[in-house]
């Protein structure tokens, strides 16, 4: 598969001819009227968004606009927050992920997540990667696990740095390495979508550049949705950008268009630094 430089704007018509093969421009995840409540306060007011396969979509917006909340709806991490309630439809390959029959474990094996603060398990580097495949029974024999660990670390660009100390704790790595370890851990279970919640906000510029390069490479095989506070980052790595404001999605479109010729005044004000 080649790099996904071509992005097709919401290709709804193509979802009709969905096949099992990876097809460029096919809608991977889709949300309709997603509302989220924390107790009595409403955090999202009905979000309609399509995420196309093999594209990188960035969610930008001022603090508290609901972009992280929306991201967590996509693999039901909001379930773990007491008092949080989600309304509306979220589908993965056309299947409702909030359906009662759906097993959330299966969903999270398909939609992985990388958090803002690197959170490797306080175990060895090897065990951090091997945990997921072993958990889901994707690899059980040592040789298989070794292979998965090496492949995942290579894809995350971490292999050369850690190959001689796989038995050392994951927490002994630097912040940037830890975050790449978390990404490697996520791709070890071969998800279809990777969610990233401000993956670089705790990192220095060099580590950030490495992660951004990694995201670009990964977009060849994965669909990636990321939340970022950094507009330059969105402009650098995202094919599409969605602007959130006060619980609404104001605008979504090709990154170039959002940053050069936004349709909504609020988007314009935000990207030019009037507020945020």
């Amino acid at each position: 598969m080649t790099t996904a430089t071509v992005t097709v704007p919401t290709a709804m018509h193509k979802s009709e001819q969905r096949s099992d093969s990876h097809q460029q421009g096919q809608v991977k995840m889709s949300t309709r009227g997603v509302k989220v409540f924390y107790g009595d306060s409403q955090a999202l007011h009905g979000i309609d968004l399509d995420i196309v396969e093999n594209e990188v979509i960035a969610f930008i917006g001022p603090s508290g606009c609901g972009k992280s909340t929306f991201l967590r709806c996509l693999n039901r991490m909001n379930d773990t927050i007491p008092g949080c309630r989600v309304e509306g439809d979220v589908t993965l390959d056309g299947n409702d992920i909030y359906a009662p029959s759906l097993d959330v474990v299966l969903l999270r094996a398909q939609v992985g997540i990388v958090f803002q603060k690197p959170n490797p398990f306080p175990k060895s580097i090897y065990e951090n990667i091997a945990y997921g495949p072993r958990l889901h029974g994707l690899a059980s024999r040592r040789a298989e696990l070794d292979e998965v660990v090496e492949r995942s670390l290579r894809r995350a660009g971490l292999w050369d740095e850690v190959k001689d100390r796989l038995d050392q704790p994951g927490t002994s790595l630097s912040g940037g390495q830890q975050q790449r370890l978390c990404i490697a851990r996520t791709i070890a279970i071969s998800p279809e979508v990777i969610l990233m919640d401000e993956p670089c906000s705790a990192l220095d510029p060099i580590a950030t550049a490495k992660i951004e390069q990694l995201i670009d490479e990964l977009s060849a095989s994965y669909t990636i949705a990321m939340v970022t506070h950094n507009m330059q980052q969105a402009a650098r790595v995202a094919h599409k950008t969605a602007f959130f404001h006060m619980g609404d999605m104001v605008e979504v479109g090709d990154t170039d268009k959002i940053f050069t010729n936004p349709e909504d005044q609020r988007t314009h004000d935000y990207i030019t630094g009037r507020f945020g």
């Binding site: 693999n75 991490m77 773990t80 007491p82 474990v105 299966l106 969903l107 999270r108 094996a109 992985g112 997540i113 990388v114 958090f115 603060k117 959170n119 490797p120 398990f121 306080p122 945990y131 997921g132 958990l135 889901h136 704790p169 927490t171 978390c182 851990r185 996520t186 279970i189």
Partner: protein, 452 residues
């Protein structure tokens, strides 16, 4: 108006400097107070330990006779020990053997001791002096001779040096725990007995030997010198086993459920408040509860370590639940998020990640809870564990006492100048057990601790 902001640079600095001096004084005062508090605490603990050790350690050595006992065949005049005949059933043989043992029991073993004492003293003992003579060796030692003979009948007709405990009063006299200048009317022993005791001590027949009785015997009321901790120790051991087996699994499981799985609502809030309150309930209340439920309603045996263990389990549960919840709460949420995000189920998240990380804290809390239960006395008094028990319990269903209860009972014994030391010795044993439990807790925590 001359506010600080308008003051010149020099004035501003002068004002800050003035306040600086008082701030430093405050800091120094607070440090001194803290140091004084720590030092006071340390001194008090030192005094406590020193006084217990000084009183208790001498009790580990006890006035002991090394007497040449002649197993006189005229006195030990019993038939041969029965041998199991061919075709005889085990029950029949046991019955014949028991009859023989009763016969051995009726032998006048005291006479052997009297004779040996007379021999050692090199005196002819007048009949009216028998009473004074018998005050030397503690009364239970007759049975020691009987048991030696039942074990080995070849002793008959021979003379052997046998270790016999002196009576409690002789021990007190020899160690100088009673004023030697008191008039006869206020002495525990007659003048004759005291003279003999001194004589035998000089001769080396009586020595201060390490007291195995303290560890191997049960409590005794008729023969105070041979009172020991074995029964209470076993009772405490059984109770601790029951407490560990019940309270740790139940407590840890409840805490995991409440902390990780239970929905946060009115009911769980109520449960949490009640658990916290239970931890503050006086222990004697648990004794009342145990007496009502386990003995009154369930008809479990009185004075049994089983009931004691159950009562102490009730008492320990809140402590363990609170400690475990605190340990679980200290695990950062990012670990749970990471595991859930990988597609681990809730149970897998808890058992693969949260619990292993919380284990040091859980173990420490649990062991400290168990150690607390080990030292608990009040609830045991209410379920009859202060009864006098002269057997070492073989199962948790047998009657038994417990170490802290034994301390309490000895503390109240009338023979103060003997039991004061004995009580402190028992306290040393209890403290040693507790300190080893605490050391175990620290060791486990150090060993299992994960670097973040």
């Amino acid at each position: 108006m001359n506010t600080i902001t308008q003051a010149s640079r020099g004035e501003r600095l002068a004002i800050i400097e003035r306040s600086l001096a008082s701030r430093h004084r405050q800091e120094k005062r607070f440090r001194r107070l803290g140091l004084a508090a720590v030092v006071t605490g340390m001194v008090l603990v030192l005094i406590l330990f020193a006084s217990i050790l000084m009183r208790g350690l001498p009790a580990f050595w006890q006035a002991t006779f090394y007497l040449d006992i002649h197993f006189d065949s005229d006195i030990v005049n019993v038939s041969e020990r029965p041998i199991q005949q061919e075709g005889e059933s085990n029950a029949d043989f046991r019955e014949r053997d028991f009859t023989w043992q009763s016969e051995v029991g009726r032998v006048n073993w005291q006479q052997l001791i009297d004779n040996a004492l007379a021999e050692a003293l090199g005196e002819e003992i007048e009949p009216q002096q028998t009473r004074d003579l018998r005050a030397l060796v503690t009364s239970a030692e007759r049975r020691t001779l009987r048991d030696r003979f039942i074990e080995d009948q070849s002793l008959l007709g021979e003379t052997h040096t046998i270790k016999l405990l002196a009576s409690a009063n002789v021990d007190v006299w020899i160690k100088g725990n009673i004023n030697r200048d008191l008039p006869d009317s206020q002495q525990q022993l007659s003048a004759q007995t005291r003279e003999w005791a001194d004589h035998l001590y000089e001769e080396g027949v009586i020595t201060n030997a390490f007291s195995t009785a303290l560890f191997l015997n049960t409590d005794s009321r008729s023969s105070l010198a041979s009172a020991g901790l074995a029964g209470a120790f076993m009772g405490s051991l059984f109770m601790m086993l029951i407490v560990m087996l019940l309270s740790i699994p139940i407590g840890v499981a409840s805490a995991i459920y409440l902390e990780e799985f239970a929905p946060k609502n009115r009911l769980t809030d109520l449960i949490e408040i009640n658990i916290n309150n239970l931890a503050a309930v006086p222990s004697i209340v648990f004794g009342l509860l145990g007496a009502a439920i386990f003995i009154g309603y369930l008809r479990l045996p009185l004075s049994a370590p089983l009931v004691g263990g159950l009562v102490l389990t009730l008492m320990t549960l809140p402590t363990i639940i609170i400690a475990t919840r605190a340990a679980l709460r200290s695990i950062p949420n990012s670990i749970r998020q990471a595991a859930l995000g990988m597609g681990a189920s809730k149970v897998q998240t808890v058992f693969h990640h949260v619990l292993p990380l919380a284990l040091p804290g859980i173990l420490t809390g649990s062991i400290l809870g168990v150690a607390q239960a080990l030292g608990e006395t009040a609830p045991l008094l209410l379920i009859g564990m202060n009864a006098f028990v002269s057997n070492i319990p073989a199962t948790p269903f047998d009657q038994a006492s417990a170490l802290p209860v034994q301390i309490y009972l000895w503390q109240g014994n009338e023979l103060r100048n003997f039991f004061e030391a004995r009580t402190s010795a028992a306290i040393i044993v209890l403290l040693a057990l507790m300190l080893s439990l605490n050391a175990l807790a620290i060791w486990l925590r150090k060993k299992l601790e994960t670097r973040w």
